[in-house]
């Protein structure tokens, strides 16, 4: 045992090193531009354009500014609330539909798939004005549901496609096998199917949430006050010192702040994306 350990240890150290190098490459590729945004947010007005990657003078002024008003905080609350509700509803509805598409045979299935793709494909810029008119006439304009509904709608095609792609890869026979082993329908689903479906569901949740979180077009067009304005829209209400000056520092600070919920969201959900189909799962 001890002898094997030594060479295996060396080998796994080597392996760890290799992964470590790859990890570093990925992290650098992903984060350098993000650090640049963060760096801009810490620069003083006088040095913001000096082109230095690392600020020469540090300031928290930009952060103080954005938290000084309730405008940004309100927008943050709106973004989180609207994003979470839209994501949950879209994933639940999408899971139902995707299950049916992957597992059941019924007429109209192809139509549903075609229509949801059509909705995903149509350029949203020309849908905004008619949507605005509808929402205004039924009183949804500038409300949470006024944004949640379009987000669900435009999140659903992605959810349905992603989920049905995953559901069809699940070996559903396992469910039967488990039931033969004496598990009830519910137990079979919870213990066998649900773990296998999780990677797809959490992937979908992350993607839909980020879609809602980043949307600017609907957010700016279907809101008019702080009551329902989300962060990307609120950014365009930040003020420079004059009509022509961009509030770059404040915008970057806001962008840095709103990345934190995304990090938390991803940190929380990424753990669920693991190989579900191990031999262990198959053999019980």
């Amino acid at each position: 045992m001890a002898v094997i350990d030594q060479s295996a240890g060396a080998q796994s150290r080597l392996k760890n090193w290799r992964w470590g190098v790859l990890d570093v490459i990925v992290i650098v590729f992903a984060l350098i531009p993000v650090l640049w945004i963060a760096s801009l947010s810490f620069k003083t007005p006088a040095t913001i354009t000096d082109g230095n990657f690392i600020p020469r003078e540090w300031t928290l002024e930009n952060y103080r500014n954005i938290f000084n008003t309730d405008q940004f905080v309100r927008a943050l609350i709106n973004s989180i609330g609207i994003g979470l509700i839209s994501t949950i509803v879209a994933v639940v509805l999408g899971t139902m539909a995707a299950y049916a598409i992957a597992r059941l045979d019924f007429p109209g299935k192809g139509l549903l798939i075609g229509i949801s793709l059509l909705i995903a494909m149509f350029p949203q810029v020309s849908l905004v004005s008619p949507l605005f008119e509808i929402e205004r006439s039924i009183g949804l304009f500038d409300t949470w549901p006024g944004l949640i509904l379009p987000y669900i709608t435009f999140g659903l095609p992605l959810a349905i496609y992603t989920l049905s792609a995953f559901f069809r890869q699940i070996p559903w026979d396992l469910e039967k096998a488990a039931k033969m082993d004496g598990a009830t329908q519910g137990e079979a689903f919870r213990r066998v199917i649900a773990p296998l479906a999780m990677p797809g569901i959490f992937t979908t949740a992350i993607l839909v949430f980020i879609f809602c979180w980043n949307d600017f077009l609907f957010a700016i067009s279907l809101t008019s006050t702080e009551r329902s304005r989300t962060v990307p829209a609120a950014l365009s209400f930040f003020q420079g010192a004059s009509q022509f000056e961009d509030p770059t520092g404040a915008i970057c600070a806001a962008a840095a702040v709103i990345t934190i919920p995304i990090i938390l969201f991803v940190l929380f959900f990424q753990r669920r994306i693991v190989s579900g189909l191990t031999s262990g799962a198959v053999k019980g």
Binding site: A30, W36, D105, L149, I152, I160, N214, I263, Q270
Partner: protein, 316 residues
């Protein structure tokens, strides 16, 4: 387009009971009902929100309708389509858009696959890598675009100095390269995440069996993993392409369309929002839609049975 594949008689169904199609059994009826019931909420929401706006846009595309001159509104059939399709701005923008789409999606597929592999398999700091890799996708596009613009402008940025002594955003080739870089950086994580979830579906024992049979790493990748991941790859390609073809924010911020870097979405925006020309703007939207639909059709055909809802499912 997938409708036709789905309605095909399901002759090679796995489950034998499906072969008796003459009369609908009780189970079959129940299955139908359950299918409709499960799909209804999604279908209702999607249709309620988009049916009118989409049909209205299509209807507008057959009209001469400028919001500034409401009195001149009239039905002109395909007139707008002829105007747009015979315009050189449209075709220049179309070429730029096609180039950006092909290059970014191809690069993202390769990078995304590598990234997915690392995120999925790494033994070190897995949570950190996964989270870090996904952050670019979570950054608001406009802000990211502004930071790229700063970075690539001499005097204000760190990148311009590093790579050239000119101003890369004032020339066509370098502008396009920067736009594509910004797109790739931003959306590779989308690809990677979908592909990683696809990787999670590859059964370990299949891989083990393959490697015991003496398959090389590359063979295991092409013979074992790719087939299983096909549906995930299709979804990733499909949705990335739809998005890439409608590229807007990065161009709007980085060059505002200068030096012939305009995309079709920029043109649609300029005609619809700036020009208030609902007729021409809607026509462009419909044309963008058609172009994207053709791409989607090709993908679905290429992937055949891996497409969602195709009848030959459940086979691996």
């Amino acid at each position: 387009m997938t409708a036709e594949t789905a309605e095909k008689p399901t002759t090679h169904r796995v489950r034998p009971e499906r072969k008796a199609r003459a009369r609908l059994s009780e189970g079959k009826k129940a299955e139908r009902k359950l299918g409709w019931l499960l799909c209804a909420p999604a279908a209702i929401v999607m249709l309620a929100v988009t049916a009118y706006p989409i049909l209205y846009s299509v209807w507008l595309s057959f009209q001469r309708f400028d919001l500034k001159f409401p009195d001149q509104r009239e039905f002109i059939g395909l007139g707008n389509y002829i105007t747009v399709l015979s315009n050189q701005y449209w075709w220049t923008a179309f070429g730029v858009t096609a180039l950006i789409t092909v290059v970014t999606v191809a690069v993202e597929l390769v990078l995304g696959m590598a990234l997915a592999w690392i995120m999925f398999r790494t033994l070190v700091a897995r949570g950190l890598v996964r989270t870090a890799a996904l952050i670019p996708y979570g950054i608001v596009t406009v802000v990211a675009a502004f930071s790229w613009k700063y970075a690539w402008t001499p005097d204000t940025g760190y990148l311009a100095k590093l790579f050239t002594d000119g101003a890369p955003l004032t020339e066509r080739a370098s502008s396009l390269a920067i736009i594509m870089l910004a797109e790739i950086w931003k959306t590779t994580p989308f690809m990677a995440l979908l592909l990683m979830a696809g990787l999670a579906l590859v059964p370990d024992d299949l891989l083990k069996a393959a490697s015991m049979d003496g398959a090389s790493g590359w063979q295991r990748f092409t013979k074992v993993m790719l087939p299983v991941m096909k549906p995930a790859i299709l979804v990733a390609l499909l949705f990335r392409t739809l998005d890439a073809f409608r590229v807007f924010d990065n161009i709007y911020v980085l060059t505002a369309g200068a030096n012939n870097t305009s995309s079709v979405s920029m043109l649609a925006y300029n005609n619809l929002i700036r020009g208030l020309n609902l007729g021409i703007g809607s026509t462009m939207s419909v044309l963008i839609f058609i172009a994207v639909a053709i791409i989607a059709f090709v993908f679905v055909k290429l992937f055949g049975t891996a497409a969602p809802g195709s009848s030959d499912e459940g086979r691996r």
